[in-house]
Subunit: 272 residues, 2 copies
């Protein structure tokens, strides 16, 4: 799959492109079931909220076949190879649970700030791909983004080690307010929260400022955040665990477009 | 003002009625300016979040002329006198700030549970009126309600004195999940978050289950929650401060419909 000229322009202008229903219900059902199993597991890659609810599962593509197929999927890898004009590798894989009632806040931040400071990534030639495993509603902790904020470069940030269980370089209130004012449309609002059915995909720039509020509803909001980096732009500092910031820069070999469907059907017949 | 037969039926079926743009921009600008002044004040009626940001200002109608006009306004008092078939008095007045970046969660609860347990209010013959002083957006901590939950009577609740600075009788996750399932529409979602411009009004039943998430945006979300009670149903236990649960059961005398506009214009000319 490739992005259209219009989608590429929107990405450069706004810092993101939203692809509703990129994966089918059959594909997403498979990912959701596997994801729920992983979030229950007691292993080092699964981090928990202060309440004990799952927060993030790292690196699931390294130990789960279904997520290996996902990170190698042509609907995700194709557009990024097109955009960067070269091969890409997996820099980071997170399955963020945003569990019903217990999913906690992710404060305002840029991801490339962390990749540069902690991982020594030379340029923001890596992109985030958010794959919705549940319906993302306005009420269940939707991801919020500030359009155009990717044009600001790396903004000054403080290292927040206390608010949640996950340390993060976060932006201050004045910066977020300024960026939201600069992005404001006629309604005065400069923050967008893309919502949609499970299977929708949001691709966004590594410098796009984003956050998400706690989830106080009974509706979980699982999103896979996959970061693919241009191979020539691989990281140079190994300060984080290798299952958080990967050190295997092998180019992704794409699987067939129907790989997830084939797996789901084979798996289903095997179970019958 | 009176509610239509259709609005009264919707209220009985769903437990709420939403009135977009009930107050004009001129009226709301006056309320917003006065409200912001009150939230800055260092007085016992103004409660703060753990961060120090304002959370709630009680009883502003007892010390501020503009809010005295609001609680006596025919667009609010008229429908309630109509619904209860008798005079009403002010049981409680809260200006909830839900401040930009700092407004904290209100957990799932019913208000009448508190009025019954703490204040000895005989029946749920009191109604909440939410008056939006800012635009309520999906992203800035919108009030969430569970339609039809007002038909459940008073549900079992636990007294939460730790989560936020305001003690509250809150419902457990299983109860909220069950109620949301019972209210679910074809999309499977049983929670509604009415959003709209400043000046919009939401009237909701004292037993309607509601909550609101933290506000992590730069957009404040001030709402006045006015509780008007049928005079014959006045409270019988005085366990809370009189400026939290009022003990003056005098029937409200309505002001003229243009009272706020008249005040705004008089005030403006005086300032010139």
């Amino acid at each position: 799959m490739e992005l259209s000229a219009e989608q590429l322009k929107a990405f450069d202008d706004k810092g993101y492109v939203f692809l509703p229903n990129c994966f089918s219900e059959e594909e997403i059902a498979l990912l959701r079931i596997e994801g729920e199993q992983i979030l229950k597991a007691d292993r080092k890659e699964v981090w928990r909220e202060k309440t004990g609810a799952p927060r993030t599962a790292f690196a699931a593509h390294t130990f789960n076949e279904v997520f290996r197929l996902l990170v190698s999927h042509p609907r995700l890898v194709g557009p990024l190879k097109q955009y960067f004009g070269e091969d890409v590798y997996v820099h980071q894989f997170k399955l963020n649970a945003k569990a019903a009632f217990e999913g906690d806040v992710w404060q305002w931040h840029q991801d490339y700030g962390t990749w540069a400071r902690d991982d020594g990534m030379p340029e923001p030639r890596a992109m985030n791909i958010a794959i919705f495993l549940d319906d993302v509603l306005p009420i269940n902790g939707a991801l919020m983004i500030i359009p155009k904020s990717h044009k600001q470069g790396v903004l000054a940030a403080g290292h927040d080690k206390t608010t949640t269980s996950y340390p993060l370089w976060t932006l201050d209130k004045d910066t977020v307010t300024r960026l939201a004012n600069e992005a404001a449309g006629p309604d005065g609002v400069g923050i967008v929260a893309p919502t949609g059915k499970a299977g929708s995909v949001l691709m966004f720039h590594g410098n796009l400022v984003h956050a998400s509020p706690p989830n106080i509803t009974p509706y979980p909001r699982k999103i896979v955040y996959l970061t693919l980096c241009a191979v020539s732009n691989h990281i140079t500092k190994f300060t984080r665990e290798e299952w958080i910031a990967h050190r295997d820069f092998t180019p992704i070999e794409m699987v067939d477009d129907d790989a997830l469907v084939e797996y789901a059907r084979a798996h289903k017949s095997a179970a019958e």
